[in-house]
Symmetry: C2
Subunit: 352 residues, 2 copies
């Protein structure tokens, strides 16, 4: 007894997003039915809609920064009640028995975690559709609790941009006195500044664009270094324990390696693809590393939400109506947003 | 009151090694004078003599896998006595006060460690000359004790090939049950197999050359995987906690990344230079890392020698006369040695 819900979907890689009715499953025993109140707009939504990664299935309903309220629960649901403030991020299922799943790293599930949209439900094989929609049905183990202290709209981007920067900060043990740099000031970068600062680190922003300094400092940066300025780069040689590189396109990462301290790591969280001429020499001469990191596990995502609740951390957002999503996508491609679009899903009830 | 000692030196990047007298300093208070008994032939000796790294100073006396006997000690030397069996590796000095030095990682000295040859003494500015020589004069803090149980000739390569593989195995916490792969079966690779096995790991050799299986198993490999064989590579997908890549030339490292377990690291210890089209995607999707590592610190090198003494681990060597060094260099360039040339320095006393 599936039911149809109003959504915004792309019908092909060339098409704009437009109103479309999808089928959501009726809740299984362990499912939570969520009324979606807000949904963040992630850069990967644009990539997926444009089929940049070659794995798009249409119609596609994007959105994996979902904040809502519990509408109904299955008979086996113990952790949620109707009316609870909840979140759903990038994952809605995983195998639960591989080594990463057993260590709470469902995002690295060896049998393939199930993504919130453009994927397939592992139980009934139905398509998964994301948060640009009235409701979503998700197993309770993949639903997050949103602390009361968090603003719902500003919390939405925590579900992807927040956890994507929080997880490497935690994994590489950032704390009081750590020296952390963030490359790039966008959706991910602005969360990286806030989170690293709240963890007690001395935080530096690497940027190629002048004029971001005041904003960066407001968001948590102690220093701003122009990565195009050789003397500024030399001045921070050997400084950073951890660099989180949020730049979402191919670029030369070699210049950042000398700014790592001996034993330091640069973690790629924005760009997935080939690097031109990456040089191993500087890695060898100071036991440095280039690593990658993908969102975070479910328990870690809850920990991040609780951390944000305690520290009053939200994303800086621009609230939009769903009717403006195609314009928002265009602006996102020009990096014209400070720092995350969030859709007020109440607008979905209005005429298009 | 320096003194002249017989050595083998290169006079220019094109020249063969030939007998040459160099000046060694008279011992300072903290110096140990060492009669060199054996010296290993490292691949980097060939690179340095050929000026492949553009920093060669001639005349150059190579050699940083030095085993000898103490001939004399300065007035302030407390740790060594005449007649002691000792070793000298790649380092003869460092600043001792930067963060890496304070953590026993003199090889990553931020003010520049002093290499055993082709470098400059930080106190008197004199040139450093390596182990293809009768004697060497080294400050006691950079002299290692050689356990009585070790054969002196077979211990020489431990000072570079041994510590270069031991240090990353320890840093990435290899122990009982770890799954380790070694890429390449040369001087470094054969030590990696022995050391990883002695630490309790399940050890795999990646090789491109058929016919190495029996030897690899004798050296400690539990498995041999042909890296050119797609089904064999697929069979070890997601397996290794740590891969030590000893290949000394540019090659495609992308195929090894999928064989790392989630959270695993591949450490480059052989090749210093640009990689073509290294892909960050597989790093991101399983929080993997590409790292580098350089020899090891002095305390760690002593720990490695003691570990080898306890486990009866030597390098597999081919003992040569110094008069055959140019032929050995030529064979080394063809990887025609099992697995390390060691020079019997007694031959230096014979006519050329």
């Amino acid at each position: 007894m599936n039911y149809r819900v109003k959504s915004y979907a792309a019908q092909s890689s060339g098409s704009l997003l437009a109103p479309f009715q999808i089928e959501r499953r009726s809740p299984r025993a362990d499912d939570v039915v969520i009324e979606i109140l807000y949904c963040g707009v992630c850069h990967s939504d644009v990539h997926n809609v444009h089929n940049d990664w070659g794995n798009a299935n249409y119609p596609m309903v994007p959105g994996h920064e979902i904040i809502g309220k519990v509408l109904a629960v299955g008979s086996g649901v113990s952790r949620f009640q109707i009316g609870d403030r909840v979140g759903v991020g990038c994952l809605v299922a995983s195998c639960k028995h591989c080594a990463p799943c057993e260590h709470g790293q469902e995002q690295y599930c060896q049998n393939g975690a199930t993504y919130t949209y453009n994927h397939q439900d592992p139980i009934d094989g139905s398509r998964t559709y994301g948060g640009y929609s009235e409701t979503i049905v998700v197993a309770q183990d993949f639903v997050l609790k949103v602390p009361d202290s968090l603003d719902l709209a500003g919390a939405a981007p925590l579900l992807c941009a927040g956890i994507t920067t929080y997880s490497p900060l935690r994994h590489w043990q950032v704390g009081q006195g750590s020296k952390v740099a963030i490359v790039g000031l966008g959706g991910l970068g602005h969360m990286g500044l806030k989170l690293a600062k709240a963890m007690g680190a001395e935080v530096t922003l690497f940027s190629r664009s002048p004029g971001k300094e005041a904003d960066a400092r407001r968001l948590g940066a102690d220093h701003v270094v122009m990565s195009t300025d050789a003397p500024q780069m030399t001045a921070v040689a050997g400084k950073f324990d951890l660099i989180i590189n949020t730049v979402p396109y191919q670029h030369d990462v070699n210049p950042y390696i000398p700014t790592l301290a001996s034993g330091g790591t640069m973690v790629m969280v924005g760009y997935l693809g080939p690097l031109d001429d990456f040089n191993t020499g500087p890695l060898v001469f100071s036991r440095k590393a280039l690593a990658g990191s993908l969102i975070g596990g479910i328990a870690e995502t809850q920990e991040m939400l609780d951390f944000c609740g305690q520290h009053g951390i939200h994303s800086d957002i621009e609230l939009i109506r769903i009717q403006d999503i195609n314009h928002a996508f265009a602006r996102l491609l020009k990096a014209d947003v400070k720092y995350r679009f969030v859709i007020d899903m109440a607008s979905l009830k209005e005429p298009a």
